[in-house]
């Protein structure tokens, strides 16, 4: 029984790790989409961030420098997206896809040119990564039954970036719902004309939103390259940016519900990994293929049956043209 409890907690532990890039990206997408800018480029920005983090960490050996550069690279891509879709009123989906594709190619080409390892960056030592940190008091609190075990097994022992992801959720909720900037952000996604009438620049507001989005994607990429793994590997984002976008829609463009959706995806993935090759009572061993399809099957079921209608911000995807 004790063992089973620990096993469940370790599954939650894995859930947090797997969900971290999703959480960062979902919060990133939330800022952008709430301001009315569709962002399908989460994937590309995260991948670019991962590459930047892996490369800088390999060269400087400093995880913080890597994080900083990753955030800057990802933000500059966000600005490209903003320039195309806000300033030039281009199609936001096309701009996002363009970013995804160019990053997928560029990271490999640059990686190959700089490090000559086929698009990978060199494997990093512990000092150049965000390693798991043990939270204070694990020894004393860990001794308490149940709560202590939860604290020691699931909550403690993650990379700093995991805790930052968890902190990003209340922070996002606070910014979006409790600050003046948040109010305007939501308004500009629903009715930019009204915001404009109030004398607030729609363009500047949307630029700030995509920049925040870029920064958060940079965190996600950093986690992939130097938190979860120890180097950048080509295409290492593996579609997680799209999953995060799905989680955002799943969560109806709200921080806490999107966070919940990310955790569900993370949990399904963690369970899928652990169910492999395990003999289940009455069923026997479940084929790998079915286990791997499980998260997606459940997503369809949940989307179809339980979530209800997700209403997007009204002005999403529509470039704002100031009337003369």
């Amino acid at each position: 029984m004790e063992d089973l409890f620990v096993l469940v907690l370790r599954t939650f532990d894995a859930m947090l790790r797997v969900a971290t890039p999703l959480i960062f990206c979902a919060m990133a997408g939330l800022f952008s989409e709430r301001s009315g800018i569709v962002d399908i480029g989460l994937e590309g920005k995260m991948l670019a961030g991962a590459f930047a983090a892996g490369a800088i960490a390999a060269v400087t050996g400093n995880a913080w420098a890597a994080l900083l550069v990753a955030v800057m690279v990802s933000m500059s891509l966000a600005l490209v997206h903003g320039f195309a879709s806000i300033t030039h009123r281009g199609d936001q989906v096309i701009s996002g896809v363009a970013i995804n594709l160019s990053v997928a190619g560029l990271t490999v080409v640059l990686g190959n040119a700089w490090f000559r390892q086929g698009g990978q960056t060199p494997t990093l030592g512990a000092e150049a990564r965000f390693m798991p940190i043990t939270l204070p008091g694990v020894e004393t609190i860990g001794a308490i039954p149940i709560f202590g075990t939860i604290y020691a097994e699931s909550i403690s022992g993650h990379s700093l970036l995991v805790y930052l992801a968890l902190a990003a959720v209340p922070l996002t909720a606070w910014v979006v719902y409790k600050t003046r900037f948040g109010l305007r952000l939501r308004a500009v996604g629903e009715n930019p004309a009204a915001v404009d009438t109030a004398g607030i620049s729609v363009t500047w507001l949307r630029y700030r939103a995509v920049m925040i989005c870029g920064a958060l994607c940079g965190f996600a990429g950093t986690f992939l390259a130097i938190g979860q793994n120890a180097s950048f590997v080509r295409d290492m984002s593996a579609g997680q940016g799209y999953i995060a976008l799905a989680a955002l829609i799943f969560g109806k463009w709200r921080p806490w519900t999107a966070f919940g959706a990310c955790l569900i995806f993370g949990l399904l993935d963690a369970v899928a990994i652990r169910l492999q090759g395990v003999e289940l009572p009455f069923i026997g061993e479940v084929p790998v293929q079915l286990i791997q399809a499980l998260p997606y099957i459940l997503t369809v079921v949940l989307l179809a049956g339980f979530i209800g209608r997700a209403v997007a911000p009204k002005a999403i995807g529509v470039p704002y043209v100031k009337e003369r």
Partner: protein
């Protein structure tokens, strides 16, 4: 998503065209122009493809003959890549990986004058040489080492794509581990069921951690680039890992217990060398322990981890397998792991 992949494919094909144009320029000066088509995972996967790369690079260094190469990054490219090589007059064309069997088979029929070699797959044609390995024999030995090293009596296996070939590794490993101690528990996981599973270190690491949670303390990865994540997870958690195909001991010294060697480098080198010397022959080549086609790695990175008793036991088993006292079951012979 499909849309994105379509565009990816186009980008990759453009890249392929460029790569081949370059290859042509380099090779036109000489008559003998061998070619190699790497498979997904890429020539720097630190494992299977890289073994081939090392072999052909050695050939290039020794003879000064350059070769054409192509890295398949998408399933639809295999046949095109192989056909392109043949069209441009490359001979021999070396295909890497089981997945290229169909492509080689088709193209070999179209170019009966060109010599094709295929590593890890079997094509029955008069101008094709099929090279396969007895991975189960090598895996048996590292399975023994794993079981002898394990303190918990539980060892793990992380495979790449779920295919019979990888099950063959797993089956040999399991049999070796149980040969040492019948009570050894072997936990097996596959990364995925698509070729993307060869290049997903994040998932490999998660699979390894899940196995560690269940008590595993030695994990064997036969998963191409995904293995890098498995070894990293083993290092981060203070467990032991076993590499595959190439000697991967240097990747994480102190963590890598050993590597199951599959001498694809020698095989690739021999293909190019034999074809140049004129001693290349079509048909099947099966390389096992007796032919030194498989084995396990012992070098300065892991000599402290392997005790003399472990080495002696593995060497004894090696001799027994060669002289037939021990029969290691080949999963692919009947698609089941019974022994």
């Amino acid at each position: 998503m499909t849309n994105t992949q379509g565009v990816f494919a186009k980008t990759a094909i453009l890249g392929a065209a460029a790569a081949m144009a370059l290859g042509l320029g380099a090779a036109s000066a000489q008559d003998y122009s061998p070619a190699v088509v790497f498979d997904m995972g890429g020539k720097f996967d630190k494992s299977f493809n890289q073994g081939v790369y090392d072999g052909v690079e050695r050939f290039k260094e020794e003879t000064g003959v350059s070769y054409r190469e192509f890295e398949v990054t998408n399933e639809t490219q295999r046949e095109q890549a192989v056909r392109r090589m043949a069209q441009r007059g490359a001979d021999p064309v070396l295909g890497v990986g089981f997945a290229q069997a169909d492509a080689i088979g088709k193209v070999a029929a179209e170019f009966p004058e060109t010599r094709f070699s295929l590593i890890d797959g079997v094509v029955d044609a008069p101008n094709v040489q099929s090279i396969v390995f007895k991975e189960h024999e090598g895996s048996f030995l590292v399975g023994m080492l794993a079981a002898m090293k394990s303190e918990t009596g539980k060892v793990g296996f992380v495979g790449g794509m779920d295919i019979p070939l990888i099950r063959k590794f797993a089956c040999g490993f399991e049999q070796g581990a149980k040969y040492v101690n019948a009570g050894t528990e072997v936990i097996q996981n596959m990364t995925g069921s698509t070729p993307a599973a060869w290049n997903n270190p994040g998932r490999g690491g998660e699979l390894a951690k899940a196995q560690f949670d269940r008590g595993v303390d030695v994990v064997y990865a036969a998963a191409g680039g995904t293995g890098v994540g498995v070894y990293q997870a083993a290092k981060d958690n203070g467990k032991f890992a076993i590499g595959v195909d190439s000697n991967q001991n240097y990747l994480q010294p102190g963590t890598m217990l050993t590597s199951m060697l599959k001498r694809v480098d020698v095989a690739a080198y021999n293909v190019f060398n034999d074809a140049q010397a004129g001693s290349w022959e079509p048909g099947f080549k099966v390389l096992g322990l007796a032919e030194n086609g498989v084995g396990w790695a012992l070098d300065e990175h892991n000599e402290d981890l392997i005790t003399p008793e472990m080495k002696a036991a593995a060497d004894r088993a090696r001799d027994d397998i060669i002289n037939g006292t021990i029969t290691v079951h080949d999963y692919m012979s009947d698609n089941s792991c019974t022994y």
